[in-house]
């Protein structure tokens, strides 16, 4: 049986853990709100961009205007996979879900055909000890995530694609469904899928006047579209990370409370027992004394 002091020590230890988890929950909640606002603020640009691209690609259908190396599918086995995780843990299954999802994809091709770009410390640490080639990593920027990070990453993979280092580029990241739901998803980044661009083209038949011409606009638009896609993935992952951490820390705080309750009951019982025992000793002692006097 644990002594009173042992139980007390454990209660105090759990209490201080609870303080930390509660603080982490509050921090994550505050950051989550900001991250969510950013995701929403970026939507008009991304939506309009996809629509424009749709109009351009389908509007000038068949002609050479809609041809671009970033749009053309290639027959080739080389895949580059961009894996986006957080730098930090303590966010439930957030990181492991993405890593597992990426692993499924990575294992579809032979090891030699796959190259990785890892974003976030968790992805790097996982894949560093494994046989796949890591072409590039990006770490330690999450606190100051800006569009320039997306540009850097997107321009790198586009260059890899154009140089023939990869025939396909995929993105694996946590999609932000809601505060409590993050889902690992895979998105084909390159070549830019034509179906994706065609969907938004409700006004595909519009005859635009292009200046200077459709081709050069497409040349400008496609890289920006890819950067926007990457930016969205980064922001969703960040919002998802905070959501996951908030949920995880909430659960941890609740668990700590349950544990404290159980330990407190144990403590009270042990204290009661001790008192009873002491009382019995005294009563027993007194009894013995009186009995000794009577006889």
């Amino acid at each position: 049986m644990a002594t009173l002091r042992d139980i007390q020590r454990r209660i105090r230890s759990v209490q201080s853990t609870q303080k930390i988890t509660r603080a982490m929950k509050l921090v994550a909640a505050a950051k989550l709100r900001r991250a969510q606002e950013r995701v929403l603020a970026a939507r008009p640009y991304a939506g309009k961009m996809a629509e424009l691209l749709g109009n351009l690609v389908t509007g000038s259908d068949g002609s050479d205007d809609a041809a671009h190396p970033l749009l053309e599918p290639r027959e080739g086995p080389k895949r580059q996979i961009v894996i986006i995780t957080a730098d930090k843990g303590l966010a439930g299954a957030f990181n492991s879900n993405v890593i597992r999802r990426a692993l499924e994809l990575v294992r579809q091709s032979s090891t030699a055909d796959v190259t990785l770009v890892v974003v976030g410390r968790k992805a790097r640490d996982f894949y560093r000890r494994r046989p796949w080639t890591i072409k590039r990593d990006m770490i330690g920027f999450w606190d100051r995530l800006a569009f320039s990070h997306a540009t850097e990453l997107a321009d790198y993979v586009m260059q890899q694609y154009l140089d023939g280092e990869a025939d396909e580029v995929h993105l694996v990241y946590n999609e932000f469904r809601s505060v409590v739901v993050q889902r690992p998803v895979r998105v084909q980044l390159l070549p830019v899928p034509r179906t994706e661009t065609a969907g938004a083209a409700e006004a595909g038949s519009i005859a635009y006047i292009y200046e200077p011409n459709a081709k050069s606009i497409l040349d400008d638009l496609l890289p920006r579209h890819v950067r926007t896609q990457v930016f969205r993935a980064l922001m969703e992952s960040l919002a998802g990370e905070y959501g996951a951490r908030m949920t995880a820390m909430e659960a941890a705080t609740t668990n700590a409370k349950e544990m404290i309750d159980v330990l407190t009951i144990q403590y009270n019982k042990a204290r009661q027992e001790k008192i009873t025992k002491e009382l019995l000793d005294i009563v027993g002692g007194a009894e013995a004394l009186t009995q000794g006097r009577e006889s």
Binding site: A42, P44, Y45, I206, I209, Y210, E211, R224, T228
Partner: protein, 136 residues
């Protein structure tokens, strides 16, 4: 035909302007173009410069750089790499950028890659300063 235009200016990080205006002047890559209600469908790339939109007698300015502009059914959509209102511009930073660009330009030939880059930086800085000067 409507007698007004809807204008939306968005950057990758935010929606900067959503307004109705009577006249809009946009810095296209091949020069400024004006848009009045009834304009033909038009799609172009953006240069660096000042975007103006007029509501009644009030003219509003934005410093924009890079991206696209679309005109369709009296709706003007500008997707810019950057777009700032006069009051949002950091004057000191723009002046710093201008001076840096000017220093880089001094003593470089036009064929230099850095020359083109410095020229672009200079254009952005000058536009920002011009727009910032319209404050208040």
């Amino acid at each position: 035909m409507a007698d007004r235009l809807t204008l939306e200016v968005a950057t990758p990080t935010r929606l900067v302007v959503a307004e109705t205006a009577e006249e809009i002047v946009v810095p296209g890559r091949q020069g400024y173009f004006g848009v009045l209600p009834g304009h033909a469908a038009f799609l172009t790339t953006l240069g660096v410069g000042e975007l103006m939109y007029r509501i009644g007698r009030d003219e509003h300015y934005l410093a924009v750089a890079g991206g696209f502009a679309e005109v369709r059914n009296d709706k003007v959509i500008v997707l810019a790499d950057s777009a700032e209102r006069p009051e949002e511009i950091d004057r000191a930073r723009a002046e710093g950028a201008r001076d840096r660009a000017e220093r880089r330009l001094a003593g470089r030939s036009e064929s230099d890659v850095d020359y083109t880059r410095a020229m672009a930086a200079l254009a952005r800085a000058l536009t920002r300063l011009q727009t910032a000067g319209r404050r208040g």
